[in-house]
Assembly symmetry: C2
Homo-oligomer: 668 residues x 2
C-alpha cells in the first residue's frame, strides 16, 4: 500500500476538494484561452472596419488576424509565467492487468487510486478515491510542456472537425456556379493533375534538400517529404479572392483560382490521408510488393475521393428532395434548421464511414446551392446564407489568429533555416510546374485561352492557409513532423501577408481586366456593391436571376467546355427537374414508359410554372397558401431549353388533374 499516492494537505484544503478545484481550474483556463481568442477576433473586426472605412486594401482580415495572433502569442510566451502542468509516471497496478488492458491496444482509461495522509482529526474518514484519466495520445517530450501552452494549444482534431467544415461548406455554398461549371474541365485538371504534380515536385525537392544536409537526412524520410508536399499543396487564396471580388476581376480568372483552390483542398486532404495509409500498408503488408501497395493506394485515393463526393452529393440531393416534396418552406425556421442539420450530417456520415468529411461537406455545399437553394423560401435563403457567412467569417479569422498565436506558443517548434528556404523554393517551383504546363495543354483545347498574365496571377494566388495548417498540426509526434509544422506556419504567415498585400499592385501591373460586370454580382451602381470585401459578396445565390446575358461579350453565346455542355444537358434534363421546381419537368424529359413515375416526381409548382399551363393567378393563389416565387427557375436552363411547346399528351392530361386536385397526396 506504500505506492498509493497521497494528497499532501496544504493550506488546509480537504483532499476531495482538491479534485473539484482541479476541475474548476481546468475550466477557468479553458474559458480564459477562449476569451483571449474572442478578444483577438473583436480586435481584428474593429481594425478591419477601420481599414475598410479608410479604404486601405493592403491588409486583408486574415492577414490582420495572423499579425494580431503573432503579437499576442509573443506576449503569452514571454510575459506570462505559469505554474507547470503536473504529471505522474505510472505503471499497472496488477500483473493480471497487463495483457488484459492492452489486448486491443492502449486502454481507454487509466484508473488511479489516491488516499490522503491519515489525519489527526479522528472524525475525518480516510479518503480512498479512484480518479479516471482518458487516453490523449502519445507524448515524445514531456519536459517542455507548460500550462499556458497546453491551454492555448487546442486539440488539433478540432481544426479538421469543427473549424474547417463551415469554411469549406461555405466555399461550396457561395460558389459562382455558372463560371465554375463553364470552366469545369480546366478546374478539374488543375485540381487533380496539378495538385499531384505539386505534391511530387515539392516532395521531391524537399527530399533532395534533406539529403544535402546531413542533420536532416536521418530525421526525414521520402514519405515525410511527400506528406509535406501533399499538405502544402492545398492553396487557400481567401485574401486574393476577396480582392478579386472587390475589383470585379476577369470572371475566368476568378473561376479558375476559386475553383482550383476549392477542389485542391479536397485533393490534398485525401492525398495526405492516402499517404498515411500507404505508410501503414507498407508496414503491415509484408507479403505485398511495393508496387501493389502503390496501386492499392491509388485505388484508395480514388475510392475515398469519390465515395466522399457521393456522400456529400446524396445528402445535398436528399435535402433538395425533402424541401421539394414537403411544404416545409411555409415554416422558414424549420426549413433552415433542416438545411443546417442535413449539411452537417454529410460531414458526420462521411467520417463515420471512414471517408473524408471535408470533401463530403464541400460537395454537399455545391449541391445545396445548385438544387436545394431553388426550393427554399426567401427567408430561408437569407437565413442560411447569413448563418454560414457569419460562421465562415468567425472560423476563418479564428484559425488565422490561432496560426499567429501558435507561432510562439506551440511547444515543439523545430526551426531549420535550410529546410525552410528549400521549402519556399519547392512550393514556388511546384506551383509553376503545376500552372504553366497545364495551362499550355489546356489552351490547346480551350476557346477562351488562359493568357500568360492570368497564368502569372494564378501562380501568385497559391497562398497557403487554413487547410495546410490543419493538416500539419494533426500529427507532431516525430521530429520530421515538428519541422513540417514549423515550416508550414512560416509559409502560411508569409504568403498570406506578402501575396495578400501585393495582389493589388500585381493585378494592375499585369493589366488584368478589372471592373468586369459579371452579372452575377450586384449591379455596380448600387451603393452596397463596394461595401463588403468578402469572397461571398456578390456571389450571392440570390442574384442569379438574370443569367441569360454573357459577361465577356454581351449578346454572344457563352463559350462552354465540352464537359460543361455534357453535364449541363444531363443536369437540366434530369437532375434539376427531379430536385427542384424548375421546367422542363421529368414528364417531358423521361421516356414515355416512365410517365407514372415522372408524374409522381413532378411537383404541382412545377406544373403550374410550365409556360403552357395557363392556370390563372387566382387559381394558383388559392392552391396551398404558400407563395410560389416564380423568379427562381434558373435561367441556365432557359439557355438550353427555350420555352417548349407541349408535345407530350400526358402533360396536358396532368394539367387538367392539377386544376381539379390542387394538392395530390404524394406531395403531402
Amino acid at each position: 500500500m506504500d505506492q498509493v499516492p497521497r494528497f499532501v494537505l496544504e493550506e488546509k484544503i480537504p483532499p476531495e476538494l482538491m479534485i473539484d478545484e482541479k476541475e474548476a481550474q481546468i475550466h477557468r483556463l479553458d474559458s480564459l484561452s477562449l476569451l483571449l481568442y474572442m478578444c483577438l477576433l473583436a480586435l481584428t473586426v474593429l481594425t478591419i472596419w477601420c481599414f475598410k472605412h479608410r479604404r486601405i486594401r493592403y491588409v486583408h482580415e486574415t492577414g490582420l488576424a495572423v499579425i494580431y495572433g503573432l503579437v499576442i502569442g509573443a506576449v503569452i510566451r514571454y510575459a506570462i509565467t505559469s505554474e507547470d502542468v503536473t504529471s505522474m509516471r505510472v505503471k499497472p497496478a496488477h500483473r493480471s492487468d497487463l495483457t488484459n488492458g492492452t489486448r486491443y491496444g492502449p486502454p481507454d482509461f487509466l484508473l488511479l487510486s489516491v488516499q490522503d495522509i491519515p489525519s489527526k482529526r479522528a472524525r475525518q474518514k480516510l479518503l480512498n478515491r479512484t480518479l479516471a484519466y482518458s487516453f490523449k495520445g502519445e507524448v515524445k517530450d514531456i519536459s517542455r510542456v507548460n500550462e499556458v501552452d497546453q491551454k492555448t494549444t487546442f486539440d488539433p482534431e478540432i481544426f479538421l472537425n469543427v473549424i474547417l467544415p463551415p469554411i469549406i461548406f461555405h466555399a461550396g455554398y457561395s460558389m459562382k456556379r455558372r463560371f465554375f461549371f463553364r470552366n469545369i474541365g480546366s478546374i478539374l485538371v488543375f485540381a487533380f493533375v496539378g495538385t499531384t504534380i505539386s505534391t511530387f515536385v515539392v516532395g521531391g525537392i524537399v527530399y533532395g534538400v534533406t539529403q544535402i544536409f546531413p542533420h536532416l537526412a536521418h530525421t526525414f524520410s521520402l514519405l515525410d517529404a511527400l506528406h509535406f508536399g501533399a499538405m502544402i499543396s492545398a492553396t487557400d487564396p481567401v485574401t486574393v479572392l476577396a480582392i478579386f471580388n472587390d475589383l470585379h476581376v476577369d470572371v475566368n480568372l476568378y473561376a479558375l483560382v476559386f475553383g482550383e483552390s476549392v477542389l485542391n483542398d479536397a485533393v490534398a486532404i485525401v492525398m495526405s490521408r492516402t499517404l498515411e495509409d500507404y505508410e501503414e500498408n507498407l508496414k503491415t503488408g509484408q507479403a505485398m510488393t511495393t508496387s501493389i501497395v502503390l496501386l492499392k493506394s491509388v485505388g484508395e485515393f480514388l475510392g475515398i475521393f469519390f465515395a466522399s463526393f457521393l456522400v456529400g452529393g446524396i445528402m445535398g440531393c436528399l435535402t433538395a428532395v425533402l424541401t421539394k416534396f414537403t411544404h416545409i418552406r411555409q415554416f422558414p425556421e424549420l426549413e433552415s434548421t433542416l438545411f443546417v442539420i442535413m449539411s452537417y450530417s454529410s460531414f458526420l456520415l462521411a467520417e463515420v464511414l471512414n471517408l473524408t468529411g471535408i470533401v463530403a461537406v464541400l460537395f454537399c455545399g455545391i449541391c445545396q446551392a445548385h438544387y436545394t437553394y431553388n426550393n427554399l423560401s426567401n427567408e430561408s435563403r437569407t437565413i442560411t446564407k447569413e448563418f454560414f457567412n457569419l460562421l465562415n467569417f468567425m472560423a476563418e479569422n479564428f484559425i488565422f489568429s490561432y496560426i499567429g498565436v501558435s507561432m510562439f506558443t506551440f511547444p515543439k517548434h523545430h526551426f531549420d533555416a535550410p529546410f525552410i528556404c528549400g521549402s519556399f523554393v519547392a512550393i514556388l517551383v511546384g506551383r509553376a510546374l503545376n500552372i504553366y504546363p497545364l495551362a499550355f495543354l489546356l489552351n490547346l483545347g480551350r476557346q477562351t485561352k488562359i493568357t500568360m498574365n492570368i497564368q502569372h496571377m494564378m501562380v501568385l494566388s497559391g497562398l497557403r492557409g487554413a487547410i495546410a495548417f490543419s493538416l500539419a498540426i494533426r500529427n507532431t509526434l516525430t521530429e520530421a513532423r515538428q519541422l513540417i509544422l514549423t515550416t508550414t506556419l512560416i509559409i502560411v504567415i508569409i504568403t498570406v501577408i506578402v501575396c495578400g498585400g501585393s495582389t493589388m499592385s500585381v493585378l494592375t501591373r499585369l493589366g488584368i481586366p478589372l471592373g468586369v460586370n459579371d452579372d452575377e454580382n450586384m449591379p455596380l451602381g448600387s451603393p452596397q456593391a463596394h461595401q463588403y470585401n468578402n469572397v461571398e459578396e456578390g456571389d450571392n445565390p440570390l442574384d442569379r436571376s438574370h443569367m441569360g446575358s454573357h459577361p465577356n461579350a454581351p449578346g454572344s453565346r457563352p463559350k462552354k467546355s465540352i464537359l460543361a455542355k455534357v453535364w449541363g444537358g444531363f443536369d437540366s434534363k434530369f437532375m434539376k427537374p427531379l430536385l427542384t421546381h424548375s421546367n422542363p419537368t421529368l414528364m417531358e424529359t423521361l421516356p414515355m414508359c416512365c410517365l407514372p413515375l415522372a408524374r409522381l416526381l413532378t411537383s404541382v409548382e412545377q406544373l403550374s410554372r410550365h409556360p403552357a399551363m395557363q392556370i390563372s393567378d387566382d387559381d394558383r393563389a388559392s392552391a396551398s397558401g404558400a407563395e410560389f416565387s416564380r423568379q427562381n427557375s434558373s435561367d441556365e436552363q432557359a439557355e438550353t431549353h427555350p420555352p417548349t411547346v407541349i408535345s407530350n399528351p400526358a402533360l396536358a392530361k396532368s394539367a387538367a388533374k392539377v386544376r381539379a386536385q390542387p394538392l395530390p397526396s404524394s406531395h403531402i
Copy 2:
C-alpha cells in the same frame, strides 16, 4: 521491467498502429453519436412540420424531441451490443513521484510506458512509447461503463458551457421588454423570493420523504435535498410560452411567466452553486460557526448574482458604445460578428472571474436588445436575430433529445419510486406556495391584479427543462446525486409532455383572454402571423416600431409599477442617450456643467434626429453615405418624453457645428 504493459500482437497489427487505430476509433464513435443526434433533430424538424401543417398543437417540438430521444435511447440500450471500454488500474511508477505528483491535488496527466512483446523478426525495433492520459474526474463504479453509453454520454460540462448559453442569450435577446419592464417588480419578487421559497419547500419535503424511508435516509443529506430543491426550481416553460405566443394570450400573463422563468433560471443556478460552496465552507472552515457560514453563503449568493449581472450588463453596454460611436454598421457582416463575439465574451469573462456565465449572458442579451439593437444596421438586426434563433432552436431540441436518450443510456440511473412520488408532490406544493401567497401580496400593490385564473395558469407553467437537467447531470458521483438525476429526468419528461399537452385546454377552461393584440406582435391579419409557433415569433425586436398604443385598454395610459417608472426615467434620461442614437440627448438631460462631456457622447445621428434640428434630407444623405434609419428610435421614450422644445442654448450651437462638419473626429 515486468510491469511495463506490452501490446499483444493480434491480427498482425503493429503496435504503433494500435495507437493510431485507437484515436481513429474514438473519432468515429464521436462522429457516430453526433450523427445520431443530427438524425434525431432532422426527424423532429420534419415531424414538427407535419404537425404544424396539420395544425396539431398538442405536442410541442421539445416534447417531440424528448419522445424521439426516448425511442432511440431504448434502441441503443437494448439493441446495440458493443465491446467494452478498456481500462487499466495503475499506480505510480516511482516512489519519488508520490508526493511530487500530488502536491497540488491530482496530477493533470498520467504517463504510461508501453512496450510490444519482442518480435521474432530481428529488424523490428523494440517499441518503447509513452502514452499520455488526461484528468477526467472521479469514478465510483467502473464496472457499469460500456462503450456506447460512454459515447452517447457527453461531458456534462458541455451543457452548461456550450448548449445553454445560446438558449439563455436568446431568451434575453428576444424578450418582450416592454411588458417585462412594466411588470418588473412582480417578476423580481417571483424570481427571487419565489425561487427561494420553492427551493426550501421542495428541499424540506424531499428531506422529509427520505427520512421516512430508511433506505434513503443514509444516502440523502439535508444539503442534498436543498440542492435538489434549488436545481428543480428552475422552470423552463418553453412549451407553454410557444402556445401563449400562438394564441396571443393576455400580455401580463405572458410577461409574468416569461420573466419569472428567465430570471429564476439565473437565481436557481447561482443558488445551487452557493449551496456547493456552502458545503465546502462547512468542511474547510472549522473555526466558523454554522450561522457565520450561512451568512457568508447569502453574501456569496448576492455577490455572484450581481457581479455576473454587472459583467453581462457591461459587455452589453460596451457593444452598444462600440456600435454607436463607430460607423461599423456600414459593414453589417463585421457588425454582426462583433455582436456575436462580444455576447459570447460576456459568458467567458464571467466564467474566468469565477462568476456565473449563464447569468452574465442573460443580462448581456437583455442589454443587447435594449440598447445595441437600436444602433445596428437593418441587415445586422436580421442576421443576429436569425442567427440566435437558429442556434436556440437547435440547442433546445438537442438538449431535449439528449434528455430522452439519456433516460435509457445513462449508466448510473437510480430509480426509487417513493422518492420520485415525493418529488412530484414537493414540486407541486413548492410551486403553489411560491405563486399563490406572492400573488396575493403583490395584488395589494398592483393596479392590474393577477387574477386567480392567471395564478392557476402560472402554477401550471412550472415545467422543468434544460436548466434543471444541466444542473443535475453536472455531478453524479454520489448515490444521492444519481437519484437526483434520475428523478429530474422523469420530472422533465413528464412535465414537458403533460403540461405542454394540456396547456390549450386549460387555457380555454380558465377563460384567460386569448387573441389579444399586444401591438408588439405582427399585425394579426398578416399572413405570417400564424406561421411560426416559436417563443420568439412576434417577439421580434424588429416589430417594436409602434409601441405607443396600449394593449389592454386602447387609448388609455399603461399602468406601470413604481420600480418600472423609476427605471424607465433613469433609462431614457441617461442610459439610452448615452448608448443609442435616441433623443433626448445627454446635452439636454445632464446638468449644464457636463456639457462638453455630453457633447462628446452625443452622436451626429442623435443631433440630426432631434425634432428641432431641421437638417434637410439632402444634407443628411450626403453626410456619410450610410442610411440612418429613423424608425428605430424607441417609442418607450416617446411615451415619457413628448417632443421637447429646445431649451438648451448649447444644443442650438452644436446643430450649427454639425452642419458645418458632418463627421467630427471623436466619432471616427
